[in-house]
Amino acid sequence: MPAYDPQRTRNRPAPATDRPAPVDAFLDAMPPSRLIPEGVDSDTKARGDAVVNAADTDGAVNPIAEESVIDAAPRVTADVPRQPSPPVVRPTSDNRSKIAIAVIAATIALVAVLLLRRKRR
C-alpha cells in the first residue's frame, strides 16, 4: 500500500490469545453437564442423567470415582408435566417423642411387675 496506508503511524493490535477472552466468563460459568470437555465420552441414560466416564479424561474428573453421575434431571420441557415424586415417610420430632414416652411407660410397667413378684415371694 504505497499511496494510502492508514496504519502507517500505528498498527492495529490483535487480541491476545494467551489471555482470557470475554467469552471465557460465560463458558466458565456454565455447568459441566452442559459443556462436556474435549476427550470425554458422555452417555445419556433414559432418565436424563449424563454419565461422564472418568477413564477417558485427562484428570479432569476425580480419578477415585469409577464414574461420576451428573444429575441433569432439570432438562425437562415445560410442556411435559413433571412426575410427582412418591411420598416419603420421614421421622419427625413429634413421632420421636411419642415413641420415647411409650418406651418409658413399658419400662416402668415391667419394673412394677418385677417388684410385685418379689413382694409376693
Binding site: 494510502y4 477472552a21 410442556d79
Partner: protein, 283 residues
Amino acid sequence: MPIVAVVNQKGGVGKTTVTLGLASAAAQRGKRVLVVDLDPQANATSGLGVWEPATTVDLALETDRPGSASSLAVPTAWVLESGMAPDLLASTPALSAREPQLANDPVGAQDRLQLALEGNDYDLVVIDCPPSLGLLTINGLFAADRALIVTEPGAWASDGVANVQLTISRIAARRNGRPEVAGIAVNRLGRTRDAHYWHTMLLEQYGSQVFAPVHMRAAVAEASAQSLPIHGLGNRQGASDAAQEFDTLLDSVVPEMTGSGGRVVAPAPSASTEPIGGSDASV
C-alpha cells in the same frame, strides 16, 4: 444438515444482509431453508416479510424445548421461482429481555437453540446472530456446526474479525471443535481506496479464509426495504450481479450444496453502470 451461524460482534457490517442473501440463494435452488433471527432488532424477520409473528424464537429459548424449531417456525412472504420460501424462527424486540434471563439460568441456557433445532428436516439453517457477545450469540454458536464471519472492508470491522475468531476458537476448544470457522465474507465492498486497502489487509491476514466479496449495490438495500429476496428482484439493475455473488458465497460456505438440482443460474453480470455506494446496503 448444515447449520450456519452468521456472526460478528461488530454491528452494522451486514450480517442480516448476508443471512438473507444465503437464504435466498438456497431457496432459489429448491432447498428447504430455516432462518433463525436471534437479533432483537428483528431485521431478518421484517426482511422476510413477517410482521407480528404468531410464534417467535423466544419460545425456543424460554426453556428446554427439544425439537421445537419446526413447530415454532412461521412461513415467510418471499416468493421465488423455485416455489420454495424459507421458514423463519422470528424475532421481536422483546427478545432483548430474554438475554439476562438466560445469563442467570442456574442450569445453563447456552444450548437451548441447539436443543430446539434437534431433529429438524431442513436442508439448511442460517442463524442471524446479534451484534454483541452474550447468551443469544452463544446460543447461535452452540447450535451451529460452522460460523460465517461477516465483515466490511474497514478498520473497526477488521478489528471485529479478530475478536470474533477468538470467541469462536474458545467455544470450539470446549466443544470438540464445533463450530468451525467456515470463512470470512467481505460485505459491501465499495470502490474507495480505504475499502480497497482493508480488503487487501483482510486477504493478507486471513488468506484463503476470505471468500469472494459481496459488492455494495443499491439493489441489495432495495430488496431489504421491500422485504424481497435478492433473487426475486427481477430485472432491477445490479440484482442479478448481487444474486450471483450470494450464489458463490453459498457455494463457499456450504460446499455440499454446490451443483445440486434445481439451481437457477443467475444471468451473466451486466456492464456496470450500477451506482455503487449510493446507498447503505447494510441491515
